[in-house]
Symmetry: C2
């Protein structure tokens, strides 16, 4: 696919499918007035194993890259190390390498140009004197109360919560400055941290950034994808029969559209991925007893699903139907293999 | 004065007048069994101006030095900088120099050997990658709750308290490791921070230290010495008439011993300083109408004070009496001038 060159088209592509944008004027200013690449960072802690849910932010990163943005992916290895002190830092380094490999593979699988993509290890700058001093400075202008509020949706709220949970939101704000970006991208669950960053960076003399937020995508069971429930997500290393089993067990109650894990996966991953494969949003359902159904908009598919038209497909089985023969997610392969 | 050489005498001198000691077996082990100098650190934030109250810890540091200890004085310049972000870091550096000068002068004024004394700037190591990583590690094993409890007596407890107030206690613990000391010394108001240090360092693989605590000494007004009330303390830069005025206004209610700011100053500063000047604890009160009164124990002086014997002295005026002609604190001069 060709990159988008018209500034207004770029803006449209950057904002596509986003749930919310804070300080959109920053994006406008950089892309339209300054006419230079918008620099965006997306951070991921190198803790669990990346799963198919990663296609959701990765596809959005694809939009940013196609809109001419420079994308920095922060591999938060220190965070990954601190999340489980039992893992030695050497292991965490390999883990970060694995994340880099997998995310690159996901982007290539959806035909995204990666020449404006950069990976940055948290440990490469988060332990420097300049960063540490800025973190101390931030900690002296941000209240405990505000730091706690900021982390409320992403940091476990328990009575014996470690202090690090109050420090992380400040680091996430400071990363914007030290990575030299115009915008930070993340799920809407990051909203309170983003609002804190916007508010506190100016207090220590740094600029506000734009914040681009994806909607939250439910897991295969309808709720949040959970690291502790392997059936709620498809691991990228799952063998075919495990994928089949998980799709079969996914929450896809006949005729029920809300909280439908499979429909969400189609909406946020397979349809957008269609743009990169077919040149337009497209998701095809092969049926046992009828012509294939081709969808270009999720609304259309939702209607059909509610009217029970979509069932009896090989790729989109009702709950507990027979096995999916060839789960569509396996069709997302690097373009060179097509 | 000669240094103390007998190990048991050293222990006695180290513990003299202390309010409390945590892990005294560490002190015993180093001094008696290992027979090497105990390494002690005392930290002071370079914020306000050191005043005469500094004689209290400084005299105790004198005991440590005379007992053969190595003493590291941490000039917490980063803390001083963060305490008031309006002061540029360059100014804070001069402030730290002034602290170093003043504390050295105080030690010399009381005849203490300073060849085993070392000053360390916080900024010299608290911004290094190793320290920062250890701070992150500590923050992930110490709860918000415990960090808050630790700082309860020294960090302002307000609703909008900055997050730094929870980080400082962790840094104070970590300083023990990074300064390579056997013990930390401070006022008993530091007790909860010391208890935290003792508890949490082993959780990240570091050893417990001993904690040596001075009693709290009231200000001239009887309460805590307060930076915001200049009359509660004698500034080292106060000219003689200001010293006279403050002594005159000091809380020294006739016959009342408890909460008596002047009696406390005699107990914790002038009597111990006598050891260094006269070879024994000694404080002399010149009276207008009678022979001078020489005290070697505070109990004896307290009794006389309660019986109204001490009044009518030039050096120890009752409240609102006529001016003290020559405040005794001015007698604490570097030994070279005697």
């Amino acid at each position: 696919m060709d990159d988008v060159t018209d500034p207004q088209e770029k803006i449209k592509l950057i904002n596509k499918n986003l749930f919310e944008v804070l300080n959109p004027e920053i994006v406008e200013d950089v892309v339209v007035k300054q006419n230079r690449p918008l620099v965006i960072y997306w951070g991921t802690a190198t803790t669990g194993r990346p799963h198919c849910g990663y296609f959701v932010p990765v596809l959005k990163l694809g939009d940013f890259l196609r809109a001419g943005c420079r994308v920095k992916i922060l591999l938060a290895d220190i965070h990954g190390f601190l999340d489980n002190l039992k893992a030695p830092i050497e292991l965490v380094k390999f883990r970060a390498e694995y994340y880099k490999f997998v995310i690159t593979a996901l982007l290539q699988a959806v035909n995204v140009p990666i020449d404006r993509l950069e990976f940055v290890l948290g440990s490469a700058y988060q332990l420097t004197p300049a960063y540490t001093m800025d973190l101390f400075r931030l900690s002296s202008v941000v209240t405990e109360h505000d730091a706690k509020k900021a982390g409320a949706e992403v940091v476990k709220q328990v009575d014996n919560a470690p202090l690090s949970g109050l420090i992380y939101p400040l680091m996430q704000a400071l990363d914007e400055q030290h990575l030299g970006v115009d915008a930070q991208f993340g799920g809407v669950d990051q909203r309170k941290i983003f609002a804190l960053a916007k508010e506190v960076l100016p207090r220590v003399g740094f600029g506000e950034r734009a914040h681009l937020m994806n909607p939250m995508v439910p897991g295969l069971h309808g709720g949040k994808m959970s690291a502790s429930d392997p059936d709620s997500k498809i691991d990228l290393l799952d063998p075919p029969d495990a994928v089949r089993r998980k799709i079969r067990k996914a929450l896809a109650v006949p005729m029920q559209v809300e909280g439908n894990g499979l429909l969400s996966f189609v909406e946020y991953v397979l349809l957008p991925a269609g743009v990169l494969r077919y040149g337009e949003q497209r998701f095809v359902v092969n049926r046992r007893d009828g012509e294939p159904l081709a969808y270009t908009e999720i609304e259309q598919m939702r209607e059909d699903y509610a009217a029970d038209v979509v069932r009896a497909s090989r790729r989109f089985p009702p709950v507990c139907s027979q096995p999916a023969q060839k789960p569509h997610v396996r069709g997302l392969r690097p373009s060179s293999q097509h």
